[in-house]
């Protein structure tokens, strides 16, 4: 067996350490994911989404309750969401031949033009469990017979160790504003970019950093092996957190003599923005864009090369005047400077990474360094706690 005919990537031994994560091209199945923002779906409205290859129609009944079911009509496979039609309470009707499904059970309740059809009550479409809070409709996606776990197991932990704790997604006092956009790039590259303590250079000249004169080191050097904390709550969420709040864990890098033309800048040092990543595909940034606020990000896998990027700013709801102030800040500060300018730089980085991982087997050919310690911790942790794997629903992808 001559050595030269076997091309084995230089990272292939390391990648065995988190095999299940490397295999999760389409995302982890059997988890809760955000589907759409609440205000996107009107009563008797329908919005179509795709999560891990599952095409899902989200609708809202006459009582305001949100439901999710397969967005593929069982008859000829068209998407119900292409032309929303809800003619009777608690149902959704396919615009093509009138197959009408019960929103709750998925049962084929009737066919508009064939009321005595034998198929009626003898066929059903798939439904998905939903929840709605924090301005988001959440969907549990995976194997149809998988027992639905509580959604709290798939959300970032409630922060309790800080006096100015940011609102948990299930806290009834939370108010949120946000956007979602479909992006090119695998979901894992997005999570890793969000968590990555080594990519500060990308944000060096971003508007929000310069405008706030925010302190910006060149990097964060981990001082301990467990600088990234593994969070593993029994019957609770699983994640990893960069403990920038513990001075013993990290040392900021202010200069590098070999590159004299760039130095740390900025004077404003507010409450540290701790960053944590959570199974299945969520990021929590505390005290960002400014103290007492939080940014939640969800990198929901659509397929193996695209994800839906949710950027959500969360704050405590208060009086109508305070809520109005939040809206003002969101529209004219957080959204343009944070969600758009700042995060657009992250998006550029993710999209730029995709090609190498998609076509050049990046998982086995990347060259990691010390600054990837928290990404590797995340990969290992996520390997342990993914509940299953999404698979391509397509028979022919050529």
């Amino acid at each position: 067996m001559s050595q030269n005919v076997y091309e084995v990537g230089k990272a292939s031994q390391l990648s065995r350490q988190y095999g299940p994560y490397v295999q999760a091209d389409w995302g982890y199945a059997n988890h809760w994911y955000p589907g759409v923002f609440s205000d996107e779906v009107a009563e008797r409205g329908v919005v179509g989404i795709t999560i891990g290859g599952h095409d899902i129609a989200i609708s809202r009944d006459q009582n305001g309750k949100a439901w999710a079911l397969s967005d593929r009509c069982i008859h000829k496979g068209v998407k119900l969401s292409l032309k929303p039609m809800c003619f009777a309470d608690g149902t959704i009707t396919c615009w093509y031949h009138g197959y009408t499904y019960n929103l709750e059970s998925g049962n084929l309740d009737t066919i508009v033009g064939s009321p005595d059809d034998k198929l009626i009550d003898n066929a059903r479409t798939r439904t998905y469990p939903t929840e709605e809070f924090a301005g988001i409709i959440w969907v549990f996606v995976g194997d149809e017979d998988y027992p639905t776990p509580p959604i709290s197991t798939d959300l970032p932990i409630k922060v309790t160790d800080k006096p100015n704790a940011i609102p948990h997604l299930q806290d009834p006092r939370i108010i949120t504003r946000g956007i979602r956009r479909k992006l090119y790039g695998n979901w894992r590259l997005a999570v890793e970019n969000g968590l990555d303590p080594g990519h500060l250079l990308v944000h060096w000249d971003n508007q929000i950093i310069v405008a706030l004169d925010r302190a910006m080191p060149l990097g964060m050097k981990a001082l301990k092996e467990d600088a990234t904390e593994l969070l593993d709550f029994e019957d609770g969420p699983k994640g990893v957190m960069n403990r920038y709040d513990l001075p013993d864990n990290y040392a900021p890098v202010f200069e590098n003599p070999k590159v004299p033309d760039i130095k740390a800048r900025g004077k404003w040092m507010p409450e540290i923005f701790r960053v944590s990543a959570w199974v299945p595909a969520t990021l929590m940034v505390e005290n960002w864009p400014i103290p007492d606020y939080a940014q939640y990000e969800f990198y929901v896998p659509i397929d193996d090369h695209n994800h839906m990027y949710f950027e959500v700013i969360a704050y405590w709801g208060g009086t109508p005047d305070q809520d109005k102030e939040f809206d003002m800040k969101y529209e004219h500060f957080f959204k343009p400077l944070g969600l758009l300018d700042f995060n657009n730089n992250d998006i550029m980085a993710r999209e730029a990474t995709e090609e190498f991982y998609e076509k050049r087997d990046g998982w086995n050919n990347e060259q990691l360094s010390d600054l990837d310690f928290s990404v590797v911790a995340w990969r290992k942790h996520a390997s342990k706690y993914g509940r299953g794997f999404f698979e391509s629903p397509d028979f022919d992808e050529e």
Binding site: Y6, V8, S12, G19, K118, L119, P147, F389, E397
Partner: protein, 350 residues
């Protein structure tokens, strides 16, 4: 209609018809069908899942040819079957009642009754890794136009390129990767597959394959699992562990993996990694010859076992050479495991 008019169940059982289903591969199944029961439903009730879809007579997936006997469509039911087709003896089994014993030609092979019928396909070698002096790992890419669904423990046959020889290898990869299969292959000093791998194999080669095959299959349960593997018999165990670790709660898994000598030993890193992301997995490794590797036990995978490895309710899966299997089966019986809880697959060097 008064209740006295309805037909009573005949206590002698004469209202039960025997219906024989003939498949195109020469196999047949006999099912008992009660008066008034659709043949498709009767088959399903007896665990025979015939090809079908709508079950109401509109899709014709369950169409079959009546050969012998009196079996008629249910009265007053409109189906997609034309009267001309019906007069030629074609029947939709979901809407057909047997009025006498009957026989049908199903027109498809009995393998379709399996969850994943075997198919022939070509797959490209993606990667070859020499794991030890005597072991190679190959990863093959299944064409994107298909998915090789299988059950952990099953195998594929692979034709050695340039020859008419076929060899069988269990999937080491998990059920969740139907487009990328991994196999562990023993490299012998001489052997048709060994010669190919040693001298000619390269990434990009196309392999002719058939699969999935085999009845050594995992039935995922939450009972304690004891997996005993010799050499490349580790392959099906890796696939089984991949499935078991996704159960909630995950069952306790004891893996005992043995090789003859250090030079044959492989996947120590892989097994350590598996244990790190599979909290319920415990791994022991044994070598028959003396070893300097820390933590490795002396002996074969059977001699290092003790009764405490098989707690109440244990189910055991064994894969390795014939001698190991025989010894392991004996050990399992000694631990009090019943025959039905010991599943084994043996392989011969080739």
């Amino acid at each position: 209609m008064s209740s006295s008019m309805t037909t009573m169940e005949d206590p002698s059982g004469s209202s039960i018809r025997r219906v024989v289903l003939h498949f195109s591969d020469g196999e047949s199944r006999t099912i008992e069908v009660a008066e008034g029961q659709e043949i498709l439903a009767a088959a399903k009730a007896r665990g025979v899942n015939l090809a079908s879809q709508c079950t109401v007579g509109t899709c014709a997936t369950c169409i079959s040819q009546l050969l012998v006997g009196d079996a008629q469509p249910k009265p007053d039911v409109v189906t997609v079957l034309t009267s001309e087709e019906a007069s030629r003896g074609q029947r939709l089994l979901c809407q057909t009642l047997a009025h006498s014993d009957a026989e049908f030609d199903m027109g498809y092979p009995s393998s379709l009754l399996l969850a994943n019928p075997p198919v022939f396909f070509n797959a490209k070698i993606g990667r070859i890794t020499r794991l030890a002096e005597s072991v190679a790992e190959i990863e093959v890419k299944v064409p994107k136009t298909m998915r090789l669904k299988f059950t952990a423990g099953q195998y594929c046959r692979i034709r050695v390129p340039g020859t008419d020889d076929w060899r069988s290898y269990s999937m080491a990869s998990g059920e969740h990767e139907p487009n990328k299969l991994t196999f562990l292959i023993r490299i012998l000093p001489k052997g048709t597959m060994s010669d190919y791998l040693r001298d000619r194999a390269k990434a990009g080669d196309v392999l002719e394959m058939e699969g999935p095959l085999g009845s050594f299959v995992l039935e995922p349960t939450q009972r304690p699992h004891l997996l005993v593997a010799g050499g490349t018999g580790l392959a099906p165990m890796l696939s089984m562990i991949d499935r078991l670790r996704l159960l909630r709660p995950a069952p306790p898994i004891q893996l005992v993996f043995g090789c003859v000598k250090e030079a044959d030993l492989f996947h120590l890193d892989e097994l350590r990694a598996r244990a790190s992301f599979t909290p319920t997995l415990q791994v022991r490794i044994s070598l028959e010859q003396d070893s300097t590797i820390p933590g490795v036990l002396k002996g074969n995978p059977v001699t290092v076992l003790s009764r405490t490895d098989a707690p109440e309710g244990t189910i055991a899966y064994l894969c390795g050479p014939p001698g190991m299997i025989a010894a392991a089966e004996q050990a399992m019986a000694g631990f009090g495991l019943s025959l039905s809880d010991v599943r084994s697959e043996q392989f011969l060097p080739s």
